[in-house]
């Protein structure tokens, strides 16, 4: 039995008359890439928001490493070791790569200079950035160059590296390849694999079926505010997956072995 890192049971979220989450379940296992797919309005972004602390569900409970958690905001989720990468390249373009990696988590100099004068330890941050980017095999020459000099894929690489550097438990990626071209998108997919191989489970939200099938270990299909099923991408075809997602096919009617609940 594989260990469950993060799970949710019976999450409900209503916005006035609209029921965004209608008792959805969720389960993320250690060392996997779990793709979350679904039509618009299927409740996948509400689910991700609940997991990353961006919204508070009305009902249901979330567990992290077997303990019930109640996130009141994204900062609490982050402190609990959950990092989120957003699709719109959330970086400060005129600042350097090293600065972006440590933004909001700067390392101060030891002793008087750091404690009293709040002086930054730029050298240490630079060294750690280099080590970190090398770890993830992101080939960028200089950590002191401004992020705006990078291509879209490299920028997303910086955002992924930042999440991987500080996440203790889970990395959530919200459409990380949506804004990228084919080649750049593949580069980021490779990076997502490396993050998983270093032991961090990844939740990948994506509209891009080929990307999902390329990297996902399991596919969580959201539909009508519930979890329709969880599929095994090695056993199920892309068209059947889309059929389940849109409701054209019931999960029970899939060939044996397709479901990976």
């Amino acid at each position: 039995m594989t260990t469950v890192v993060m799970s949710a049971k019976g999450l409900v979220k209503r916005y006035g008359q609209v029921v965004a989450l209608d008792g959805t379940d969720f389960e993320l296992r250690a060392g996997e890439i779990l793709a979350v797919i679904g039509d618009n309005g299927a409740g996948k972004s509400s689910l991700i928001k609940a997991l990353s602390g961006a919204t508070i569900p009305d009902e249901g409970e979330i567990q992290l490493d077997g303990k019930v958690v109640h996130f009141k905001g994204p900062m609490e989720a982050r402190r609990a070791g959950i990092e989120t990468v957003y699709q719109d390249l959330a970086v400060a373009p005129a600042m350097s790569i090293a600065e972006n990696l440590f933004l909001g988590r700067e390392i101060r100099r030891p002793g008087f200079l750091g404690r009293i004068l709040h002086m930054l330890d730029k050298k240490k941050m630079l060294e750690e950035s280099i080590a970190h980017m090398r770890d993830l095999k992101i080939g960028i020459r200089s950590m002191t160059q401004a992020v705006e000099t990078l291509s879209g894929g490299q920028r997303q690489g910086v955002a992924v590296a930042r999440a991987a550097a500080f996440a203790q438990h889970v990395v959530i990626m919200d459409e990380p390849t949506a804004a990228l071209g084919v080649k750049e998108g593949n580069m980021v997919l490779e990076l997502i694999r490396r993050v998983r191989d270093r032991g961090l489970p990844v939740v990948l939200i994506s509209h891009n079926m080929p990307h999902v099938f390329e990297v996902a270990d399991r596919i969580h299909v959201a539909r009508l505010g519930k979890r329709a099923t969880v599929l095994n991408p090695k056993k199920v075809s892309m068209s059947d997956t889309v059929a389940v997602m849109t409701g054209a096919l019931r999960p029970e009617d899939l060939p044996a072995g397709s479901v990976a609940l």
Binding site: P74, M75, R78, T84, Y86, A90, V91, A92, P93, A94, M95, E99, L103, G104, R105, E106, R108, L117, H118, M119, L120, K122, R141, S142, Q145, E148, T149
Partner: protein, 319 residues
């Protein structure tokens, strides 16, 4: 690893400095009196008020804001500190502290309206510009405050370096520029000012309290206007209710000439010092050449448009 081209500061930060050198070279050829120690020291004295205002203004512009109220808030500060000292006989130190307190309070109001009510900085500070001007006129009854205690004008007095008189206030301005430069470069709070101007949403998502950064910037900018108020009183020897009217736009001009982007997140504070010096050198040099002040204003206007155009073009070129 890095080639010499990468190590060279980008043209954006070098450009203003080259412009200043070119302006100095030009005026040196036009008039003999320009390149004398006494005259250069005079330029420094003439720009110390604008310079200190420009420090606050740079901080605000780095966050992609703008502060139109800076000169008027400074005028209010100088009236408050001079009147408190002269009318109430308050010790200079406390009177100055009250003046800086009032300007910082205006910064706080600007900051709260920008962060809590989410009004655009342009509109907020356009409002507080008028409010500060009205408060200044009402409180001073449009009368100049005279007979300042000597301690209040001390920063306007000079000491000798070689054969040149240098004002203490000019030294204070330089010190404040270097202090702010250091803080922006070497502290997390300073880097957060750049980050907020660069991409506020991404900055917020990294867990930085962007509202607190913005609020802090407006309050500190207000405090700088208070220091400028003291320098203004020290330089002119009076509390002038009509001060700050040229400084208001000159400070913004200095920041823009210094290469700080009006779109936020880019710029070096020492550029604003260079920008203030460019404005000062043009005013001084053209005066020495006997050019009427109307033409000086004309040339300053052209300089601002050129500087903003350069900023805009370099941003497009960078993409």
């Amino acid at each position: 690893m890095s080639t010499w081209k990468e190590r060279l500061p980008p043209l954006g930060t070098l450009g203003p400095f080259l412009a200043l050198l070119a302006a100095c070279a030009f005026f040196a050829t036009q008039t003999d009196r320009f390149l004398t120690g006494g005259n250069l020291s005079l330029v420094l004295q003439q720009v110390m008020v604008v310079g200190v205002i420009a420090i606050g203004q740079t901080l605000v512009i780095l966050t992609a804001g703008i502060d139109l109220s800076c000169g008027m808030v400074m005028a209010l500060g100088s009236i408050v500190m001079t009147k408190f000292a002269v009318d109430f006989g308050m010790p200079t130190f406390f009177a100055v502290a009250c003046g800086i307190g009032v300007t910082a309070l205006f910064g706080l109001i600007n900051g709260l309206l920008v962060t809590r009510v989410r009004l655009p900085p342009f509109i907020v500070t356009l409002g507080t510009l008028n409010i500060a001007f009205a408060c200044t006129q009402l409180y001073s009854h449009s009368q100049t405050v005279t007979d300042l205690p000597p301690a209040m004008t001390w920063l306007g007095s000079t000491f000798l370096i070689g054969q040149t008189d240098v004002a203490y206030g000019a030294l204070l301005m330089l010190a404040l520029f270097f202090l702010t430069w250091w803080a922006l470069r070497e502290t997390a709070a300073g880097r957060h000012v750049y980050a907020v101007g660069n991409n506020p949403e991404a900055t917020r998502l990294t867990g930085i309290a962007t509202h607190r950064v913005l609020l802090g910037v407006y309050v500190i900018a207000g405090a700088f206007y208070g220091v400028a108020a003291l320098l203004s009183a020290a330089r002119t020897g009076v509390g002038d209710p009509n001060a700050g009217q040229t400084e208001n736009l000159d400070a913004i001009t200095a920041v823009v000439l210094g290469g700080t982007s009006l779109f936020g997140g880019r710029g070096v504070i020492l550029g604003s010092l260079v920008g203030a010096l460019i404005v000062g050198v043009f005013r001084n040099g053209l005066t020495l050449m006997g050019v009427s002040s109307v033409y000086q204003i004309l040339i300053t206007g052209i300089l601002v448009i050129l500087a903003v155009a350069a900023d805009q073009l370099s941003r497009k070129g960078g993409r």
